[in-house]
């Protein structure tokens, strides 16, 4: 097990170095010198430019600059935003809980709805329910979520007026940002209205971001269940006279879950891409919204730092899934 773990970690190291190299080259691929980008449209005297270039090490050879960048990263320094001058890492930490809150809720929503639907479709294979669900799920997987989000806002917020259009909580409430998770923070604020407001703000973005994973999970669960339901041990369990519900939920589902869990783990990257669009539509103050704004403001350090952190997170999650899978399934542990 330890060898397997070490093997996976050493495999990821070169990728990590390549990712930092890619993020380093990003800022150099942008047309114009980083200093000039930082100065903006005001212009700068040539002597001062040369001085600043020296100060930031931009007159050094590229390999030296890359080594400096790596050292800087090793100290947890991602640079500063051109617009707000705040540290990119600090901004990331402030906004990250909002994205996690949305992502976790979307994933829970997708699992809670998708798993039972997939199981029922597999058990009732070939029925109208099965065909209907598969039709809906292929549509869900094809959904342009930036449009889906707007349509949901149009129906539930504009026409029906049930939910707010954007943001995380109503203007009337002030909640001490203690954990960064609005649901938890509003819970501890002892203000029932605040909890309700946070919930109603969360529900539409959750549904929109959860749609594609929901469709994927339902399809995956169905095909995985179909495979397991044909196995011998299910026939044995049935022959023993166990109740159909027990056979399906305890015997079949437990075995069908492994591929589903793997797929869920590997969805994190896709979820981040979806979060960019969902947060933009709902003005949700998270990482996706922050990155899109960074592009519009040409705030390259934010784009560079944010992208790097997300890539590292995706790598960490993939490694985690890999290791968990190896832990659950000794056959792939060689």
């Amino acid at each position: 097990m330890l060898r397997f773990l070490l093997g996976r970690v050493t495999l990821i190291l070169p990728t990590f170095v390549c990712v930092t190299l890619a993020s380093f080259l990003l800022i150099h691929a942008v047309p114009g010198d980083p200093i000039e980008v930082r100065v903006g449209e005001h212009g700068i005297a040539p002597e001062r430019l040369a001085m600043l270039r020296h100060q930031f090490g931009l007159d050094q050879p590229l390999w030296k600059q890359f080594l400096d960048y790596e050292t800087q990263l090793a100290h947890g320094d991602l640079g500063n935003s051109v617009v707000t001058h705040a540290s990119v890492w600090d901004e990331f930490l402030t906004l990250f809980p909002a994205t996690v809150e949305l992502g976790v809720c979307a994933l829970i929503f997708a699992l809670v709805v998708g798993l039972p639907l997939g199981v029922i479709a597999a058990v009732r294979r070939g029925t109208a329910f099965d065909y209907g669900l598969m039709g809906v799920s292929v549509t869900g997987a094809s959904m342009p979520i930036f449009w889906w989000g707007l349509m949901v806002i149009l129906v539930f917020s504009v026409f029906l007026g049930w939910t707010p259009v954007s943001g995380r909580i109503g203007d009337a409430f002030f909640v001490e940002p203690w954990s960064g998770f609005m649901l938890i923070d509003s819970w501890y604020s002892d203000d029932e209205g605040a909890v309700w407001s946070a919930l109603t703000h969360l529900i539409l973005p959750t549904i929109v971001l959860g749609t594609v994973p929901l469709a994927t999970i339902a399809r995956m669960t169905r095909s995985s269940m179909l495979e397991v339901l044909g196995d011998d041990f299910i026939r044995t369990a049935r022959a023993k006279g166990l109740s159909p519900l027990r056979v399906v939920v305890v015997h079949a589902l437990r075995n069908a879950l492994i591929p589903v869990v793997t797929v869920v783990g590997l969805q994190v990257g896709g979820l981040m891409g979806g979060a960019i669009l969902t947060e933009t539509i709902f003005a949700w103050p998270g990482i996706g919204h922050w990155l899109v704004e960074a592009i519009q403001r040409r705030d390259y350090p934010v784009l560079q730092g944010g992208t790097l952190v997300i890539a590292v997170l995706v790598m960490a999650v993939n490694l985690g899934v890999d290791v968990t899978y190896g832990f659950l399934n000794p056959r792939i542990r060689k």
Binding site: P14, T15, C18, V19, A22, L26, A29, V30, P31, M134, G135, V138, T139, A141, S142, M143, P144, F146, W147, W148, L150, M151, L154, V158, G269, G270, M272, G273, G274, I276, L277, T280, L291, V292, I295, Q296, Y300, L303, T307, I310, A311, V314, M315, N318
Partner: protein
Amino acid sequence: MRDFWRSFSQNRGAVLGLLLMVGLIILAVTADIAAPFSPIEQYRDAFLAPPVWMEGGSFRYVLGTDDVGRDILSRLIFGARLSLMIGFMVVALALSVGTTLGLAAAFAGGIVDIVIMRLMDVILVFPSLLLAIVIVAILGPGLFNAMLAVSVVILPSYTRLVRASALSELARDYVKATRSAGAGTLRLMFAVVLPNCLAPLIVQASLGFSNAILDAAALGFLGLGAQPPTPEWGTMLAGALQYYQRAWWVLAFPGLSILITVLAFNLFGDGLRDALDPKLKR
């Protein structure tokens, strides 16, 4: 081939996808005749005219008009041409580069293999839409750059697929036989091994088509893809943001077009996979 068609045509979803695809292609090719108006002509007498079945709608503008009086139906039809073109170009680029890289990795092995595959791993680490956004941010917004970015993002799936199938083919006897008969490496790569790796590639290409259209539309929606007044569906959605609460049709139809197109290619791709993959045959 007949066997393939029999198993494909049994899949109702796949046939529906194929029909939708054919319809879209016909619309795209004949856009100049099929569209009632020019996609960029502005009619000053009809701003935000509703579609025909609503009060105040007319048959002149079947799906209504947008804020500057352009006919939405015509824009959608020309948008179909654009979207299919985007899908085709992106997949063609990713497919040709990915195939070459995958074959090179499989044939050369060693350091070449490691470098190519690590590079693909790096691309895969970034969420695809985020990477596309970053690439466009560097190259500058525009339809061509957006297509380039999407091609880069979907490249690894083709490279990995070709490498994996080429490696398993390389171990077969017929490859050894051809090699000992004196065939050169290039001939082995493209004329002997590649044709035997085609089935999964075709499926991936069909599914890649829908991804390409979806991602390009998302970039257009974020203002990074095709620029107005190009009738690209995602760009049309972005343009509708300011007044969609007053005129829902400006928002609803372009998105519906994206959904239908992506759905058609996904259904078709799923059907292809089931028909081509003998393992899934019952």
